[in-house]
């Protein structure tokens, strides 16, 4: 390995970690601001201009607190869980192509890589609930597992549909295929699958459920489970979970951008690719926040019903339809 390659790796590792940290901090700010605006409030205003220093103040507060491990908790798992939550999100960002050239590692199984590591998140949150030795945390852990198993299936079915259309798992190539005007994006590829927008919506719903965002935040349903799996975490232990939630949202939205919205491809051809990528991604992130502050939390059995009785049959139908149309049209 040459020195340059080593240096490049170092820069990307630091870059990805900084990106995750910055996103987590400022998405919290953005979420609080947006939540305020949706309710005709201004949101944080006091710390810095328009409350821009608020996340830093919160971070310092969380860092200065003691990390308490409760009596009878599995100390090692308890401490490892926050790291296990954070790690996969960062790993995923290493293969996400931000632009034509800006990518940590362009591997030819990028798609599988992201969804494989994305699933570790579920296990880590479950571990945190298990290790806490707290009844609310246990209930939350059980909910997380059943919820994420339920939503993993339609999500992966949608991804398989996409995979049949693109024919490659290389994220770079997937974006390359969508070059040109916006009707080349996978979202509008109605020639292979007239239900493509529906597919995108299914992906988006599953992403919300996988990242435990409202209206699917059964894992930390405050009104029922205190803070769910994170009940026993103090200080930065809790802070890391909080950051990981936003990091996962960023990963999910990045994947949606890459798979459906043409990644760094611009619809008109102005501005460099990375700007377009971030624009599309943050538009999706805004939608995630928007959904959270619009819909109330669902009941748990309704959540499972939605997945097993609607999303899975529909995504299976889409899969079969796509397969049939590809066989017919491209024979």
């Amino acid at each position: 390995m040459s020195l340059f390659e080593l240096l490049r790796m170092l820069v990307y590792v630091v870059g990805v970690m900084a990106f995750v940290g910055l996103n987590a901090a400022y998405l919290v700010w953005a979420e609080r601001k947006a939540a305020g605006r949706f309710q005709r409030r201004p949101g944080p205003t006091e710390v810095g201009y328009a409350g821009l220093l608020q996340p830093i103040a919160d971070g310092i507060k969380l860092l200065s607190k003691q990390l308490i491990v409760p009596d009878g908790a599995d100390a090692m798992l308890f401490r490892a869980a926050p790291l296990l939550v954070m790690m996969p999100a960062m790993m995923c960002l290493a293969v996400v192509p931000f632009s034509e050239t800006l990518v940590g590692r362009n591997i030819n199984v990028g798609l599988v890589f992201v969804f494989a590591f994305g699933t570790i998140n579920v296990m880590a949150v479950m571990l945190s609930g298990w290790a806490s030795r707290n009844k609310y945390a246990i209930i939350s852990a059980a909910r997380i597992v059943s919820q994420d198993v339920a939503y993993e299936i339609p999500m992966l079915l949608v991804v398989i549909t996409l995979l049949m259309v693109t024919g490659t798992m290389n994220l770079h190539d997937i974006v390359e295929q969508q070059a040109g005007w916006f009707w080349h994006w996978n979202l509008f590829r109605l020639d292979v699958n007239p239900l493509m927008p529906v597919t995108f919506i299914i992906y988006f719903i599953c992403m919300l459920a996988e990242t435990n965002r409202a209206p699917f935040d059964m894992a930390e349903a405050e009104s029922e489970l205190v803070a769910g799996a994170f009940t026993e975490y103090a200080g930065m232990g809790f802070g890391v979970f909080f950051m990981a939630e936003y990091a996962n949202v960023v990963v999910g939205c990045s994947m949606a951008t890459v798979l459906f919205l043409g990644g760094w491809q611009s619809p008109f051809g102005v501005w460099p690719g990375v700007v377009w990528f971030l624009l599309k991604m943050y538009a999706l992130v805004f939608t995630v926040i928007w959904v959270r502050w619009t819909f109330p939390r669902t009941q748990f059995y309704r959540l499972l019903n939605l997945s097993w009785k609607f999303l899975i049959p529909v995504s299976l139908f889409v899969l079969i339809l796509t397969a049939a149309m590809m066989k017919v049209l491209r024979a």
């Binding site: 305020g36 605006r37 005709r40 409030r41 201004p42 205003t45 928007w290 959904v291 502050w293 619009t294």
Partner: protein
């Protein structure tokens, strides 16, 4: 199957409708009052702690220490002392202690006062870290206000008229009530 699709379509439409409504709210101006920097004007019938009413003619308290309010108070938080000064027809108040830590703002004292010498103030920024701040002498307060208001317009009383904080007579709850 048709029913299923109809239900799904209807459900999705209602979700989109909900999102449209929240987005409309998103772009409307905020309605928050930034409290420490700005505050709302209290309504004229706001019931803060009681205060003595000033006689608009003399600028002094109307109260002549009849102690009816002291007797009317169910929580025993008022203590009135008065003295008859030389050359005056009736007594005048010299001390009006209100223990606000005990007061429940029932207003019995204001109701009991036959000469309308008591009223509710509109003050609500009453937070303090010391208990002593809530045991206040309303007479001393009134006098301090009067002294503070006096020096500027030398002797002319009409100029002084609008100075006192509670607008005379008109602001009294009793006369205002329909």
């Amino acid at each position: 199957m048709r029913k299923f699709l109809k239900e799904m379509g209807g459900g999705f439409y209602s979700l989109v409708l909900g999102m449209r409504i929240t987005l409309e709210q998103f772009f409307k101006p905020t309605v928050t009052v930034h409290y420490p920097h700005e505050s709302l004007k209290m309504a004229p019938r706001f019931r803060g702690h009681i205060e003595l009413v000033r006689d608009p003619k003399t600028g002094k308290a109307i109260c002549f220490a009849c102690k009816v309010c002291e007797k009317a108070c169910p929580s025993d938080c008022i203590l009135v002392e008065g003295a008859k000064k030389e050359g005056e027809k009736r007594k005048s108040v010299t001390e009006f202690k209100l223990d606000f830590t005990k007061c429940s703002l029932c207003g019995s004292c204001v109701e009991a006062c036959k000469s309308n010498a008591l009223q509710f103030s509109r003050e609500y920024n009453l937070a303090s870290t010391r208990k002593e701040d809530f045991i206040m002498d309303l007479f001393k307060r009134l006098e301090a206000e009067r002294v503070a208001a006096e020096p500027q317009p030398a002797a002319s009383t009409p100029a002084e008229q609008p100075k006192p904080k509670p607008e005379p007579a008109a602001a009294q709850p009793k006369t205002e009530a329909p």
